[in-house]
Symmetry: C2
Subunit: 203 residues, 2 copies
DNA sequence: AATTATTTATACCATACAGTATATAAATTT
DNA sequence: AAATTTATATACTGTATGGTATAAATAATT
């Protein structure tokens, strides 16, 4: 069993992560965090070195949740095409997912941290690379198994796919209209069906 | 000729706009602004009611510049298709454009203001609507002139186009890699050529 | 050029900020 | 259960915050 202190640390990150994600690094104050957690500064500074460490832990927490969800969707049993559809289907209601985190961590921290915190900005770039890599792996596998053909390299296509998804995330987030997600996924699914499906082009 | 005071107000907005755009509403302090302008608080508060008014004027300034650039690209003489390509071509090097503003105002303020400033958030939504409307108008014109055909309504297609462009903007901005813009525009151009061009499907 | 109106600089306000020292309380170990 | 370690609360730094009152300086008007 975990010690009380460890559980407190986790509790702090869980509680604080959405606050940082909503209001950004500079926009979040230590008193916002004591208020959210019901703890005092002593407790926060006892578990984390400073504000930056709290923000970093918060992003890593949200990023991990996102990466796990993406992994789960991409690693279902089935063909590579079915795995890609599983991912796009996840983004169909991605607004519900990111609402529980106070917003998409990639988008929010990526934009906020760019000129406010170099460490966080680097962490976001790492997360983006990881996601693109995961998608590329599925695509590469599909090419190897001759389940699909790609007009460009797997990584290149993965980047393009993620860019479009992230565009929908940005628009849905800024406008509050989740139809941007829905319409983009509908578009992407037909794109994948038309462009990547191998069965339409027998050897 | 303009009065000295009017020119000072303009100078303040010009100088302050990139600072707000880079660091966000909460991340920008009044002393950041006195430092950037070389003026004192007295001067800033003599020309603007408060910090929020300064931030609002800054966004409107950047937004206007963007809308003017988009207008310029969309209103070249030529067919509706050429106008759309003129817009996508603008986004090919959009990073240079937004660098001079301290980032894309739609993306940066849209993400930053969502939970930090309701007024700014509403202004961004308005700008998005305006851009989508401008693109939709060109598309509608093209349909009327039978220069192109659309699988969905002009506004719907305009939204999808802008979503993809904004996705590229977000990715390029977060990673610092402008190839996201280039690749997306290459993709969009071929998409438009294949899907919208009427000449391939004679009546 | 003198007067008036406006604009900017200075000095200040109360409050909020991130962070710390230390005392108290609560776990953990023996 | 007692001793010890660890975690949390309290009270406190010094500094920065957005904003203001007022005085000095500069434009604009007559």
């Amino acid at each position: 069993m975990s010690t009380k202190a460890e559980r407190t640390t986790i509790f702090i990150v869980e509680t604080v992560a959405p606050v940082f994600n909503k209001h950004g690094y500079e926009g979040t104050s230590m008193s916002d965090l004591t208020e959210a957690t019901g703890l005092t500064k002593g407790a926060l500074y006892g578990n984390f070195e400073n504000k930056e460490a709290l923000a970093m832990a918060s992003f890593e927490y949200n990023s991990k949740k996102l990466l796990q969800a993406i992994d789960e969707k991409l690693n279902i049993p089935g063909t590579s095409l079915e795995r890609i559809f599983s991912l796009t289907n996840f983004y169909r209601t991605y607004n519900e997912f990111y609402d529980s985190m106070g917003g998409c961590p990639v988008l929010n921290v990526g934009v906020d941290a760019k000129h406010n915190n170099a460490l966080l900005a680097a962490a976001v770039r790492e997360t983006i690379k990881t996601i693109e890599g995961k998608i590329a792996l599925v695509l590469e596998n599909g090419v190897n198994k001759k389940e699909l053909r790609l007009p460009v390299t797997p990584l290149q296509f993965a980047k393009q796919l993620f860019t479009m998804l992230q565009g929908a995330v940005a628009m849905a987030s800024m406008t509050g209209d989740h139809k941007y997600l829905l319409n983009t996924v509908v578009y992407l699914d037909q794109l994948v069906k038309k462009e990547l499906k191998m069965s339409t082009l027998p050897a």
